[in-house]
Amino acid sequence: MRIAIASGKGGTGKTTLATNLAALHAARGVTVRLLDADVEEPDCHLFLQPEVERREPVRVLVPEVDDARCTTCGVCAEVCAFHAITVIGSTVLVFPELCHSCGACALLCPEKAIHEEARDTGMVEYGTVTLPGRPAFPLVTGVLAVGEANAVPTTRATMAAADDDSVDVVLVDAPPGTSCPVIEAVLGSDLVVLVTEPTPFGLHDLKLAVGMVRALGLRCVVAINRADLGDDRVHSFCANEGIEIVLELPNDRRIAEAYSRGELLLDALDGLEQRLSSAWDCISTAAQKHDVVS
């Protein structure tokens, strides 16, 4: 089963939910793997302190021009839809950060003067989380290199670790928003848990996220963080849309303080483990209802 934790608005508690659900599962004897697919700002490791066993670079292909063969005919620049290669006088200039690795320039160069070379754009870290008193579980973290614009290849490389039947549950901490990297992170999941807060910003961005989930043909449930903070419009929206609310967490300073120090909620407040546990029951039931479209 694959569950993605996402949100339209940032800072609503995606990482909190993902890390705590992962820790909870491990304790319940369910094999779990957590993927941190928020590659621009991956934070799960701050709360879980994994031992990283392996780091694999994420490479994308970019064109390399063989000057001896190049006649500066300009076909490469003409066929590049991303303006990543250009001919100025007798020089061919490549802008690697603009390249989408489509391969058009290499394939269509009449002189066969272009080949593609790998360039690092990020990293995937494979580690093991060992929390006191809980069984260990794997954490896979995607890390976009600082200064890189395109998060998609690193997100995709991280998500490759989702295709594995050897674990019962794959949990994905998705990036905020509704655009390309988010889509990479949520596609293929059995259910998307949208985390929000009951404020106008939270509601507005939740509506966008629900729209995205539906456009992708996926299903979702909602978790409300700081549930006693704003107003009841998120609740009304979910009721009207027939979206199940699986969890409500209070706006409690002790939770915020524990989070600020990088501690898990499970350890911060009595009774939270029980609430997360019931939330999981709702999530896994909803994930298995393949015939119902929410």
Binding site: G10, E41, V79, E97, L98, A104, A151, P200, A215
Partner: protein, 324 residues
């Protein structure tokens, strides 16, 4: 002509209070053009109660379309597509997955039957609206759409154009979380970047990453630690690190439920009042001072440890901003 200044507010981590700070600045600036560049989740209009302007379509890319009648099902398009965007069916018909297609046109170029053409994809809309504090340029990215970087660039350019036309001295940009294309697109050529963070392990980690991007582009920056009273120790550490990294100044704002209450009633925190309003007013004074053109000649030190825009870095941000 009077030079237009541009303040870009970013955060690295989402949910640190960026948009609330921008709305407060709008109230304090006494006339500025506002640009909501968090096009993925644009929220600024929710607290500025704008009179909505007319919508303009945004097309950030073109997408391949296969003409079934002309297609000979040779499969060459599927062979060359690097994005797995060509879907082949059992009955030998081919079609394009519009979400996967990046618009590289390679399939069209190699198709021997000339059965593929490109169509513009409308993947968003933008508008210039009127608020009580000045014009607001904002946008809506279509659901599950790509190319937010291009839309960010468009919103910023429009904001600048409106400022020039209507004589506003300042553009305030509400950026997006993260460090990827929309953030890079919102940074190019900023006169001051304000990073809003919070004293949490993730706030610190994400600030560090986004400040690396800001420094790569050699932009002057300042840091605001929001909800500073949540963890004083970590707040002090973040402040020390930000200063060491070259921040023009570091300001703090304590937790105040009035910030959320203002949002719930749909207004800015300055109009709502309270402790945070007073602290953000002080923050604004710092921002405003850093933004005023320095009396020293152009290109000299502005703020602490920062220099004027470097041509090379500007070219790099502009190039990246053009990308999706």
């Amino acid at each position: 002509m009077k030079q237009i200044r541009e303040l870009v507010v970013i955060s690295g981590k989402g949910g640190t209070g960026k948009t609330s700070v921008v709305a407060a600045f709008a109230a304090l600036a006494g006339g500025a053009v506002l640009a909501d560049c968090d096009v993925d989740a644009a929220d600024l209009h929710l607290v500025l109660d704008p009179k909505l302007g007319s919508e303009h379509e945004f097309s950030g890319r073109r997408q391949a379309v296969i003409d079934a009648a002309a297609c000979t099902a040779c499969g060459r398009c599927a062979e060359v597509c690097r994005f797995a965007a060509v879907l082949g069916a059992a009955d030998d018909t081919y079609s394009i997955d519009s979400i996967a297609c990046e618009g590289c046109k390679l399939c069209r170029r190699v198709c021997p039957a000339d059965a593929i053409h490109m169509e513009p994809v409308v993947n968003g809309a933008w508008m210039v609206s009127e608020t009580r504090f000045g014009p607001l340029v904002h946008a809506r990215l279509g659901v599950a759409e790509d190319n937010s970087g291009k839309l960010v660039t468009l919103v910023r350019n429009e904001a600048r154009r409106v400022a020039e036309e209507q004589g506003f001295p300042l553009v305030i940009v509400d950026g997006s979380p993260g460090i990827g294309c929309p953030v890079i697109a919102s940074l190019a050529g900023a006169d001051l970047v304000l990073a809003v963070t919070e004293p949490t392990v993730s706030g610190r980690h994400d600030l560090d990453r986004v400040l690396h991007v800001v420094r790569q582009f050699r932009l002057p920056f300042a840091v605001c630690i929001n909800r500073a009273d949540l963890n004083f120790e970590l707040g002090a550490q973040i402040a020390a690190e930000a200063s060491a990294a070259g921040a023009a100044f570091v300001a703090t704002v304590d937790y105040d439920p009035a910030v959320t209450h203002a949002q719930v009633v749909g207004t800015d925190v300055i109009a709502y009042g309270g402790r945070a309003a007073a602290e953000i007013t002080k923050l604004w004074e710092g921002v405003s001072a850093s933004l005023s053109p320095s009396p020293s000649p152009q290109g000299k030190v502005r703020g602490a440890g920062t220099v004027g825009k470097a041509t090379e870095s500007e070219a790099a941000t502009t190039a990246a901003a053009e990308d999706g």
